[in-house]
Amino acid sequence: MASDSLPARQSRSVVRSFLLTLPIAVWALLMASAAYGHANRAQWIASVVTVLFMITLFFMMMRTSSTYRWRRWFFVALGLLFPVGFIHQVMVFRGTMGIPIEEMIAGRTPFCFLPIPLLILPAAFTKALVFPGSILPNGGMSGGGMAAMAGIWLAITLVVGKGWCSYACFFGGIEEGMASLPAKAKIRKIDSRWRYGPWAVLLAMVLLSLALFEPAYCMWLCPFKAVSEYVAARNTIGLIQNGIFIVLFGGLVIVLPLLTKKRTQCAFFCPFGAFQSIFNKTSVFEIKIDKSRCTPCVLCQKSCPTMALTDESIQQGGTLMSCMKCGACVDACPKGAAVWHIRGTDVAVKPERARLMFLYAAWAMSIMFAGGIIAEGLATILHVFI
């Protein structure tokens, strides 16, 4: 058993780490050259910095055999720089973060991945997408249109399953950053039933979206409206909606992560996260607990940002389906019992091979999708100085 498994945090040589990083370096350069063919100076510098940032983090993952702490730098950067680039674009295009009704009618509301599960049932019954965007690019803030976002979401989901929430989601980084600030959690005891929160919100929002034929989550509950764009407050209802967005953002994305050191919005609220959990069943990569090595000290359980490990799941040698493959438990386990795993293979046989295969796939997707977002946010800041 565990023939060439790397005990936690055993470091590789610089040369070997460099060689293992080479494919990712080539990929990053390829993606950057495709995205920034006609870049201005600020975009070019931002692109170079992003490429170096992503390559360095991957190198450190290879060198230290630690995943979570390096991935977190990327993820927090993504979470912080997405609003910078997005809000700047919104202000340039329409001069306000509020979505005017004209832009909705014109089909120029930018489409993010969060409403995807809410659109399925209305589309299945009527072939209508209940979102004021456009299927194909339509100028303004429509970006590549809904088809582009659906395509990229499907492609990344095929590769990493619920890993989307750790390697592609441009919202989760803010709360991960907040959760990493305090040394210790002030609230340690969290009722495990809160884990069903995302499923409850998903069910409620899917039914409400079908009944009202509107993207109910975007209209009423999305905390990230506070840092992207919101319903223009034309009346009292609009004011109430915006109030809800701000309260949810402040509570779930800022205050509770600081108090609990958990990604509380993701763990207890996000309906897209619950929906994405289904795709963990289609992914070959997963996290397993090698019961022969597990003491159990439950450090993995404590370190999990979304409470995807329970006493029962550890006893059964795995995580819950809400695991987003961030690698926190693997890094935290002092016995090397929490391991990366390829479905069908024996647990803890060549876990580093499983980790490498997953990380190549996941990091390639991060560079392809999130790299551009980081570079855009960085370029927006650089424009101020250059």
Partner: protein
């Protein structure tokens, strides 16, 4: 059996890596194209109904769109949308009697001012000449089913239809 499962697992992992490598060049573009060809459309509450007729006026046209009916418990009323375009060729004041249903008799009289600055808020008065359509007095952009807005080079008026 365990060996076969293990081989299948590694094959799946290798296949995943291939998908990742092809994602930006083949997988993502093909999936996007596939989505675009599903035959889906944006809900008409947002996009308006399909155009059914065009009325030619002096120097501009009025497109009449099909009635949009809300689904399920959608909070909007049924409405018809009329598009005055091109907005840049419209006179300073519009006052048109429009035959919406094509029976030769005017159904509504629509009047609004066309400001020079496209950012100036619009207000519309609609006098119902047919009880099927609701009157509107000094309406801006209250609801999706009762509004006047400028979208690109057209001024759109949505008139609620009585249920």
């Amino acid at each position: 059996m365990a060996k076969l499962k293990s081989k299948l697992g590694y094959t799946g992992a290798a296949f995943t890596l291939v998908i990742a490598a092809l994602a930006p060049f083949l997988v993502y573009p093909q999936l996007s194209k596939g989505f675009a060809h599903l035959g889906l459309h944006i809900d008409e509450i947002y996009a308006g109904g399909p155009k059914v007729r065009t009325i030619q006026a002096a120097g501009y046209t009025i497109d009449i769109r099909d009635q949009v009916n809300p689904h399920m418990f959608q909070t909007e009323k049924p409405f018809v949308q009329l598009d005055w375009k091109p907005a840049r060729s419209l006179p300073a004041h519009i006052s048109d009697a429009v035959d919406i249903d094509g029976d030769g008799k005017p159904d509504v009289k629509v009047s609004f001012d066309v400001p020079h600055d496209p950012k100036t808020p619009l207000r519309v008065n609609v006098d119902s000449l047919n009880p099927r359509y609701e009157s509107m007095q000094d309406v801006g952009k209250k609801k999706f089913s009762a509004l006047i807005v400028r979208v690109d080079d057209a001024i759109l008026v949505r008139i609620p239809v009585k249920q």
